[in-house]
Point group: none
Chain length 263, copies 2
């Protein structure tokens, strides 16, 4: 890892550095947006927005740590990039995902406003599968390099991943059809964004087995790619959840059940 | 860049240093003003003020980073300015713009309170064009110096810029005419401030091709100029958005549709 860090070009260094800072700013801003937005939705959707903001808040914290870790591990002075010898802690991403990935699925379930028992059962099964997926990936990720440990844990981690994808389409497909007309498309879009954005992670995980990913260029691509995928899966996904919550609050307010007064 | 930083006069150094600090203070204060102001406007305009405050919050974060980066890259000791060898990261501005420029256009669209479909379509087309404009400018900006790379990316970046200017006049012109009488002038002013303040950025970007901008004096002019342009385009523009939101809340409250209780 030290070799790769030291061989970054100033342009690659700048791109990675700035994309981490971009992550910090985006997740901080997104968190405030979602939490201020709680005042604009009906009582039933406030918890969905609380959790949407928690996900971006946790990501904000971890991007700050990743930024600081990178800043301490590599320096650019007089136009030359050098590794300082300090470790760049990539595991922050796993710690982040262990918390945020189950919560992301719970956001989607909450904004759909299923029955109480269905909300609990789907949250437990999907959230549990998501936590298991991340936990199984971790031993493979920290076994630095291309080896059987990475392969075996990666394959094990794919089992809960495929279960999640299956459940999002088969198990929640019926519930999405029952959503009000003006949000049905958005809920379906939120589900598709989740699946498409999440596919980026196993692709990066297994890529070293197919192509050589040891150089500084691939380090830059992976780190910038993870940042973009995180922003899509957490902040952009959150904006969809927010929009769904606002629309459902408005239409339910007009068509009968009294809306709770704004905060 | 190291040479330029090292050749700043103590007066130029002080001017740049203090203008960055001015930016930090202005954006922090503006953010608090806009978010506290959410309590004074009708429910329909709260999101516009949330986003107005997000823009200045993101700018606050980046001015803090720019300030720290400049502070680490140059020092004034015993009346002598010296470059420390550490990089001054000018790219923070691009990271900031990538987030704030699309949001600025969305502020303007939200405060106009168009139909839901028009709000979504204009936000996507203008916000997307703004993000594309910034992303296309970045490779030219980091290709340090006066060269074809700067020229080509700069010209490409002008295409979405001109599309935005065109849309603000042609596409939104009709919608501005439909605004209530007492805010029509303000909405039109907000649009004009956007276009005029934004013209400063391409002027600075292309100026090196016309006049010599390599010295320390031009470094100071550019950095102070960007700071002033950012303050006009984000904080002063935000005050216009706030004023429009307050006026529309008042007149809509008097003339019929019940206003939602303020937070």
């Amino acid at each position: 890892m030290q070799e790769i860090l030291g061989s970054l070009s100033p342009g690659q260094y700048g791109l990675v550095y700035n994309s981490f800072s971009f992550g910090v700013a985006t997740f901080a801003a997104a968190t405030i947006f979602f939490w201020l937005g709680r005042g604009q939705v009906a009582r039933e959707y406030k918890t969905a927005l609380t959790i949407t903001g928690l996900v971006t808040f946790i990501a904000f914290y971890h991007y700050l740590r990743i930024f600081q870790s990178f800043d301490a591990a590599v320096m650019l002075e007089g136009g030359v990039v050098e590794a300082t010898g300090k470790e760049f802690n990539r595991a922050y991403r796993y710690v982040d995902w262990l918390l945020t990935v189950p919560l992301l699925l719970i956001e989607l379930i909450l904004v759909m406003r299923l029955s109480r028992s269905e909300t609990v059962s789907k949250s437990v099964s999907l959230g549990g599968a998501a936590a298991l997926m991340i936990a199984l990936g971790y031993p493979g990720e920290v076994a630095d390099g291309i080896n059987n440990t990475r392969l075996i844990w990666g394959v094990l981690s794919m089992i809960p991943f495929l279960y999640i994808v299956y459940t999002l389409y088969a198990g929640l497909g019926e519930a999405i059809k029952r959503q009000p007309d003006d949000v049905k498309g958005l809920v379906s879009l939120a589900r598709n964004v989740t699946v498409v954005a999440w596919f980026f992670y196993p692709v990066v995980y297994f890529a070293p087995f197919v192509i050589n990913l040891e150089g500084s260029a691939s380090f830059a691509v992976i780190e910038v790619g993870y940042t973009v995928a995180d922003i899509v899966a957490k902040a952009a996904f959150g904006v969809l959840i927010y929009t769904i919550a606002v629309r459902k609050s408005e239409s339910e307010n007009q068509s009968g059940p009294a809306m709770q007064p704004a905060e």
